[in-house]
Amino acid sequence: MKKLLIASLILVTHVPAYATDTPISGLVQTRCLITTDTNGVFGNPLPSKLSTASADGGVVPVVRYDVTLADAYLAKVTTPTAFSTSPSLSDSVKWTGSTAVSKTSDAAMSGYEAAKVTYGSTTQFDLTKAGSTWFSSTATAVYGVSKSFPGGSYTAIVLAECIAK
């Protein structure tokens, strides 16, 4: 019995532990991800006016930029200057629009709004910090001189660009 116990102990203590290191590898690349956070909707506060402003019953489109490297990208957001789909229009449409920083993931990005550059319908932001930035764009279309927009479906496109510096 004693020999059996000793033999068992020797066996048990010599069972090898098959432990091994399992590597997990990954590659983090410099990248820019453009995400449509909120699709815009036109409100129709007046017969001659379509607007994404919430005060006009619209929904402001929001685009999020995620960048993993500081000072590597420019964000350019262009508000629409034409409808991509609409009923047939016989008069001109006057467009106005603007883009602003609505949220950031880092307090150090607070200077983006003041440093933005606007030309035409495009607003350019220098993404000098890594992280996420949300941009909201308002767009307003006024038809002719107080003319009523014809009934139908209207769509316009906001262009969100991320350009490597």
Binding site: V28, Q29, T85, I157, E161
Partner: protein, 119 residues
């Protein structure tokens, strides 16, 4: 820590994202003499986009001739795709940007464009 948080959050973001890597591609010799190639990766997480258009531009945003498997790339939702961009060595020094632009369907309100830069 912030980078880790960002990476953790990205896969769980909105269902409408567009990504192209690398940010700074490098051209190398291709199997054809006088032609250089670089490989780009595209990721479509936009449910409202099924096609992306590829373009190559100089520093004045003038288009530069290139060859790829696709000019318009069909992509399903959550597809990732690697594609090669071939450029003649004669125009290689002029190449500044390689861009992908989403081709939006009726009803979409945001078009996305990502440009990588040759350094």
């Amino acid at each position: 820590m912030k980078a880790m948080l960002l990476l953790a959050l990205l896969p769980f973001g909105s269902a409408a994202a567009h990504e192209m890597t690398p940010t700074y591609p490098v051209f190398t010799d291709s199997f054809m003499a006088g032609v250089s190639v670089t490989t780009m990766n595209l990721f479509n997480k936009r449910t409202d986009v099924s096609y992306y258009e590829i373009g190559v531009f100089d520093d004045e945003w003038e288009p530069i001739p290139f060859v790829s498997q696709y000019t318009i790339i069909p992509m399903e939702y959550l597809d990732t795709l690697a594609f090669d961009v071939y450029v003649s060595n004669l125009s290689l020094n002029s190449v500044e940007y390689i861009c992908s632009v989403s081709q939006v369907q009726a009803g979409a309100t945001v078009s996305s464009k990502i440009c990588s830069r040759i350094k």
